[in-house]
Symmetry: C2
Subunit: 145 residues, 2 copies
C-alpha cells in the first residue's frame, strides 16, 4: 500500500474539515490497498473483523464523503451495486462481460471528443466516462475448452 497516497488522502480530508475516525481511516486504507474496485458491501464485510460494530450505513456515508472530496470515483452499473475506485492518475476501465472483472488501462484523456461534443450540442463540458467491455483472458480460456 502506498503510504504517500494514504497521507495525501488524510490531508485532503483535514483540509475539507472532515474528521478522521478509525472507520474512515480503515475504509480509506482498504480502498488504497485493494485495487479490486470493491462494492460498499465488500468493504463492509472486509472490515467486519476489525470493526465488529460498524454499520453498513457508515460505509455508505463515508464513501459519499470521500466522493464529494474527490478522493474516490463511483462506478455505477444499473441495478447492480456501485463500485468504488480510489482516484490516482487518469485511467479508464475495461470490464469482462462474463465475470465482471474490472481492469485499469491507461489512455490519454479524450479531450478532442469533449470539444466536439460541446461544439455540437452547446453544452459546457465537465467530464466524461468511458468504459470498454469484452472478455478477459481467463474467461476466454474457459470458453475455448
Amino acid at each position: 500500500m502506498s503510504e504517500v497516497q494514504l497521507k495525501d488522502a488524510l490531508d485532503a480530508l483535514k483540509t475539507n474539515g472532515v474528521r478522521i475516525t478509525p472507520q474512515r481511516h480503515a475504509i480509506l486504507e482498504y480502498l488504497i490497498s485493494s485495487h479490486l474496485h470493491p462494492t460498499a458491501d465488500e468493504i463492509y464485510k472486509s472490515l467486519e473483523s476489525d470493526f465488529p460494530s460498524m454499520s453498513v450505513a457508515t460505509v455508505y456515508n463515508n464513501l459519499r464523503v470521500f466522493r464529494n472530496v474527490g478522493l474516490i470515483k463511483e462506478l455505477t452499473y444499473g441495478d447492480a451495486s456501485s463500485r468504488f475506485d480510489f482516484v490516482t492518475h487518469d485511467h479508464y476501465h475495461i470490464i469482462c462481460d462474463e465475470c465482471g472483472t474490472i481492469v485499469d488501462f491507461h489512455h490519454p484523456g479524450l479531450e478532442e471528443v469533449e470539444r466536439l461534443a460541446s461544439y455540437m450540442t452547446g453544452f459546457q463540458v465537465n467530464s466524461h466516462r468511458l468504459e470498454v467491455y469484452g472478455t478477459c483472458p481467463a474467461c476466454s480460456n474457459v470458453n475455448v475448452q
Copy 2:
C-alpha cells in the same frame, strides 16, 4: 415517426421468434417516436391511457426482450432508473449534470481506444460506452441570471 424503423424492428422480432403483441407494438412505437430516452416507468405511464390493464412488469419484460434482440440499449446510472434508447446509427450521449437531459451527438467510433485497451489488457473487446457530462444551454442560462 419512422415507419421504416418500426417495420425493421418488427421484422427483427419475427426473425427471432418473438410474438408481436399489441403491447410490444405500442412500446416499440413509443421508443422510436420519442427521442427522450424514457425510463420504464415513463413508458408505462405514457401508454396507460391506451392500455389501462397493462402491467409495469410487461414493460420491463419487453424492454428486456428488445434489448436481447438488440433493438434497444439500456443506459444505466447507479440507483436511478435505467433509460432506454432505440438503436439507430452510432451516436454517443452528453448528459446535463443539472437537469439530467440526455442529448445525442455523433462521433466516429473509438476503435483506436478499443484496440489499445485490448493490447494492454489481453481482453477480447466487444464494445464500449462513452458519455460526456456537462451543463446544457438551458441550465447555463439559468445559472447566469
